[in-house]
């Protein structure tokens, strides 16, 4: 004969988590669509210079990258602090660029080769000497279409 129920029996029902996977999947798809895969692990520090007349790199698959900058602290005892070139995942010298360009070219479809672009990601404090050397090597290997990677500058 329980006329009076035990007090405190009216608990809130737990929040349903049935929609949690849907929410997370939505986030997942957002990130999958809006981001791109990292191409390499940077071994050099790069602060890109600023510019206003930018054009976007449309086809990621046709771009090959050359990185130039000071080696990151963990590599400095081995490679010093002078700006170095990084191709793919390792340090390289100016002489390796021609081989790199040829390898990149071989990896592409023959019809797409004329549209290939070389993107130069160079730290803004680098001296032009090394950049000029790279440009000469690129000219020698007939990779003439280049893109000086830079950040958008807000005009005053």
């Amino acid at each position: 004969m329980s006329k009076f129920r035990k007090s405190g029996g009216k608990e809130l029902p737990p929040i349903s988590t049935a929609s949690l996977p849907d929410i997370v999947f939505m986030l997942l798809f957002f990130f999958m669509v809006s981001t791109t895969m990292r191409e390499v692990t940077y071994k050099v520090d790069i602060t890109l210079p600023q510019a206003t007349e930018l054009s976007k790199l449309e086809k990621k698959s046709l771009v090959s990258y050359i990185y130039v900058g000071e080696p990151k602290p963990q590599f400095q005892n081995k490679f010093g602090v002078a700006p170095r070139i990084q191709l793919n995942d390792q340090f390289a010298t100016v002489g390796d660029i021609q081989d790199y360009v040829i390898a990149e070219r071989e990896a592409r479809d023959e019809a797409e080769r004329p549209q290939m672009i070389t993107s130069l990601k160079v730290d803004e404090n680098t001296k032009m000497g090394i950049v000029s050397d790279i440009k000469q090597e690129l000219r020698k290997s007939a990779a003439l279409h280049i893109n000086y990677s830079s950040r958008q500058r807000i005009e005053r």
Binding site: F31, V63, V131, N147
Partner: protein, 189 residues
Amino acid sequence: MAKKIPEIPSASLADIAFMLLIFFLVTTTMDVDSGLERRLPQWVDPEQLEDDQQIKERNVFVVLVNRNNDLLVEGEYADIDNLRERAKEFMANPYDEEDLPEKEPQQIPFFGETMVTKGVISLRNDLDTQYGTYIAVQNELVAAINELRDELARERFGKPYDELERDQQNAIRDIYPSRISEAEPKKVE
């Protein structure tokens, strides 16, 4: 009555999705690659290089950048803020002045016979010039040509250059060609 198939538990679905989400967060980057697009000249063997390409003094706009990142434009010190204006004036030569580049008539679609400038911008830098300065100078020179093209596009077609048809763009490109020549770097005093 048919036997009921037990439902697959979906409690772990969220965990799996989270795991995928975190994987993509870590391995991808958000930034869009953009930069100054340029074309390098063909490689010429230094021994075959002929030095007899005579270009008249008035047709060349010389920009030098030295090792201290100072600018020398047409023989005098200059500020990077004025560079764009001066390059525009050089390429357009609106009043046909004597010391600015010559023009020659050319047949150009949409425009008919038009006077096209013979001007060349020559950019030369020292081996010790900072890359940031070099890009800033390049940017101003490219901006000058882009602005001229845009002004012409608005005047002729009433639309910005970017929204024009391909052959209209080509016509404007013929009038204002992007002639920025980069000599081999030398010591710049």
